[in-house]
Subunit: 146 residues, 2 copies
DNA sequence: AATCTTTTGCAACTGAGTGTCATCTGGCAC
DNA sequence: GTGCCAGATGACACTCAGTTGCAAAAGATT
């Protein structure tokens, strides 16, 4: 089990090429959004992505951000996380799988990974007669003050 | 680790008494909603509870269902689960803690519990310098066809 | 450059849930 | 039982996140 935060792999997979191959057009808004997702280390929501995109091109629209997030999610290029009581937040896919600990005071998201937990989940599903398609494990907590 | 579905304790805690003690009035809509929650073995959403309540009293309103769910949640009488891509679903509290496996084809919810996973979560949070307030573990899967 | 889709921005819409407010009612006092 | 009144209700307007319809704009391909 890894207990230290997962470090983002310095990934710059060529999404543009992948998109074009899937018959999807590389438009100006999409280029901008991909750029933002590639840069960021945090887990922004659609509105935050929209605000960052506006800095680059004032004419971009929020619907386009939503549409693009959905498209990229369906392509598997990003992951959507619907943490409690907030809008969906996104992160680039391509790193290795991890789960999240959400700081309830700041909203910060810490990534972690536990192979032991993954394995236990598999066992449980198998015993119940199921195949896991995906899972969601989120810890909601506060910084320990000692 | 328990791998068999958690069986609902045959719980009929006297919520009416508890509510009254908390200075909360036992009204007709609340009685009906508590009755529904006490009967059901599944995890209905607000609309479903509303529909069931309507059978009993045609005059009940959806807002009251929402308000009552929020009230009961704050009192700790029920748990709210926001599974992926759907409205919140509720279950009576009072049983022991468990997590959920969601059947992606039927929407069925299977309860399970793994002390080992709970323990690993604690360890992880501690190592990251956090105290867990609560967590969410959901497995999304399909029945294994063999 | 001409064409033909796909995509965009805008605005109208949806679904889940919350807030407002006039009316109603549970529960206690008498 | 009747009266009282804070708390609860139903109706409906509203919010928030996200989606959809549509005419205009812009990729890609020739």
């Amino acid at each position: 089990m890894t207990k230290t935060p997962v470090k983002h792999a310095p990934k710059k997979p060529d999404y543009e090429k992948a998109l074009r191959k899937a018959g999807i057009r590389i438009t100006r808004p999409r280029k901008i959004i991909l750029g933002i997702l590639g840069e960021t280390e945090d887990h922004p929501d659609a509105l935050e992505i929209f605000r960052r995109a506006e800095q680059v091109d004032k004419s971009i629209s929020l619907s386009t951000v939503y549409r693009t997030m959905k498209l990229l999610e369906e392509m598997g290029a990003i992951h959507r996380h619907a943490f409690e009581g907030g809008p969906s937040r996104f992160e680039q896919a391509g790193g290795d799988h991890h789960d999240h600990l959400i700081d309830m005071d700041t909203g910060d998201v810490i990534e972690f990974r536990s192979d032991r937990i993954e394995q236990l989940q598999q066992e449980i599903a198998r015993q119940l007669g199921y195949d896991i398609v995906h899972h969601r494990l989120e810890l909601y907590g506060r910084r320990r003050k000692d």
